[in-house]
């Protein structure tokens, strides 16, 4: 039998606020343990929360960009459960009246557009970090607790079970990341934990409508992990059913090294979160005026930008997609084009040499030491014929390292292209003289032999000769 997967994702994204959701502690990453804490986020007796306005602002902004309804009346609730990363033993979250309902994200998979519906988006506080003394949580006798992350604001984005494959799940997450990055509300770095994903996955025979028993997949910390984990789980469940077994509702962890999913715990009936309205926080009313104000802050979204790149700039769709994936890259690209560089040349360089440097340095485009106009100057040198494209490729790393302008590097290293006919003629004459066999081949009709001769000239000039001019002069000399 053929099976299809039914997948819904719960995504948690850390919001890029300066302070925590309910207290003034910094959200900065990587501080010494328990130094970004105060009585409020430590949950000391007697403390009270006060909502960070920026959290609500970001949540509404994200909701609007994800085509959600913003609820005019919303509130916080307590989710009660005991765990040492939760100092109050309840998480302040939103239950029945979340800030956003009913959105969607369109994804592109296999040349087809699929719409993934969103159930809801809500605001909540992050928990602290547990550091285990042993190899794993199960084998550690004691555990350390760091509350620096406690109270960092999160958006939880819950999708409908509209996703059908690991590939779609990955595309969905990438799209979500792209949108939230465009909005500048979250970094969405899965590897750093600022974006986390739990997947609910079940399988059913193709053509049936009834949902199978789902497993919840946790501990996934990369985009490829999401795809692989879901693919593994889909196969596992389908094989289990084929072998006459039954899927049980459980939480499974993704083992990144072994590339398998493993049982974490079976959900018991004792899991009862006893949600109730948070009495220490008062309800939120969002006015239509505020919503409109926030709507105006939303920049051009990746889909619209991609469309503009193809329609107005004439970029191939493939290029436009890649360049608009993150806002920084798209901004950079537009700045290079605005400096007068041909669209396709700019695109090729962005995807080629520039991306190579960026990836090696682990930077986003806005942080590149070579600014858009500096790159434009380099590309200008190619189009003017001052240097060849090949030489330019060696100039960029130099600019990246030293911060020098392209013209400066070219001048210092003597990389100016030799287009001067007089100088080239001399070299060509010696090359013709010392390669009689190739010359004979050429004259015998083997036109390809000229390639070897061009190569010899380039070798002699250390690549600086203008290949067009060399070609032209060689032909002129050989046929003379």
């Amino acid at each position: 039998m053929k099976y299809e997967s039914v997948i819904g994702l719960e995504v948690h994204c850390e919001l890029k606020t300066k302070t925590k959701i309910f207290c003034g502690c910094s959200t900065e990453f990587g501080a010494e343990p328990n130094t970004h804490v105060c009585p409020v986020c430590l949950g000391l007796p007697g403390v009270l929360p006060v909502l960070n306005k920026e959290v609500l602002h970001f949540a509404i902004k994200a909701g609007l960009a994800l085509h959600c309804d913003i609820l005019p009346y919303s509130k916080f609730d307590r989710k009660n459960y005991y765990y040492p990363d939760l100092p109050k033993n309840f998480q302040t979250s939103q239950y029945d009246l979340p800030i956003c309902l009913n959105g969607h994200v369109d994804i592109e998979v296999g040349g087809e557009t699929r719409r993934i519906r969103l159930t809801r988006i809500h605001m909540e506080e992050d928990a602290g970090k547990l550091v285990h003394n042993g190899a794993s949580i199960d084998t550690s006798d004691t555990t350390y607790v760091d509350y620096n992350r406690t109270g960092v604001p999160l958006l939880e984005i819950v999708s409908e079970p509209d996703i059908r494959s690991g590939e779609e799940a990955k595309a969905y997450l990438e799209k979500l990341r792209s949108i939230l990055q465009y909005l500048d509300v979250s970094d969405c770095r899965m590897e750093e934990g600022s974006m986390r994903c739990d997947a609910n996955i079940s399988v059913r025979p193709v053509g049936t409508a009834e949902l199978g028993t789902k497993a919840e997949l946790k501990n996934i910390n990369s985009f490829s992990g999401v795809q692989k984990g879901i693919e593994f789980e889909a196969v596992r469940q389908a094989e289990l059913i084929e072998d006459g077994g039954t899927v049980i509702q459980e939480t499974r962890g993704w083992d990144e090294n072994k590339e398998i999913t493993v049982t974490q715990r079976v959900k018991e009936g004792t899991n009862d979160y006893r949600f109730f309205p948070e009495p220490d926080l008062i309800p939120i009313e969002v006015s239509p005026e505020w919503i409109e104000e926030i709507r105006k802050e939303i920049p051009e979204m990746p889909d619209a930008r991609c469309k503009r790149f193809t329609e107005e700039l004439g970029l191939p769709e493939y290029d436009a997609n890649l360049l608009t994936l993150d806002k920084q890259t798209a901004d950079y690209f537009e700045a290079v084009v605005a400096a007068g560089i041909d669209v396709k040349t700019a695109s090729n360089w962005m995807q080629g040499e520039f991306a190579k440097q960026l990836n090696a340095a682990g930077l986003t485009a806005d942080k590149a030491p070579v600014a858009p106009n500096a790159l434009a100057e380099l590309l200008e040198l190619i189009s003017k014929g001052t240097i060849s494209g090949k030489i330019a490729k060696s100039v960029l790393p130099e600019m990246w390292q030293s911060g020098k302008a392209a013209a400066e590097v070219v001048k210092e290293k003597g990389l100016v292209q030799i287009s001067d006919t007089g100088a080239l003629e001399e070299i060509i004459k010696t090359i013709i003289a010392s390669n009689p066999q190739s010359v004979a081949d050429y004259k015998a009709g083997k036109k390809k032999a000229i390639g070897f001769l061009v190569g010899q000239v380039m070798k002699q000039t250390k690549g600086r000769a203008n290949p067009g001019a060399v070609n032209e002069l060689l032909i002129k000399n050989l046929e003379a």
Partner: protein, 96 residues
């Protein structure tokens, strides 16, 4: 009885309290008396009544996103029953 021994065990676990088997009857009786009294509210007609969660009818109390000083690590750990290397220390973590 409005509340069974099983339910008492369940809520004891949810609230992380130990109840010895020989206490279940007496705890159950007290809770039962109280819950029986609570049944008074089942007589009230609550159709079309909105719940009240707060004694005040305020909305939108928020603060600006401006950092405030945190506690020094020693202060944060001042009341910790056990600590090490700047962390709170707890015994082996298991799921219930």
């Amino acid at each position: 009885m409005k509340i069974s021994a099983e339910e008492i065990k369940k809520i004891a676990l949810l609230s992380r309290l130990e109840i010895q088997d020989n206490q279940i009857d007496s705890v159950g009786k007290q809770l039962n008396d109280i819950l029986t009294y609570m049944d008074l509210i089942s007589q009230v007609d609550i159709s079309d009544v909105e719940p009240t969660g707060h004694a005040v009818s305020m909305r939108n109390v928020m603060r600006e996103d401006v950092p405030q000083p945190s506690l020094a690590n020693e202060k944060a750990l001042q009341n910790a029953p056990e600590q090490e290397n700047g962390y709170f220390k707890v015994p082996k973590v298991i799921q219930d």
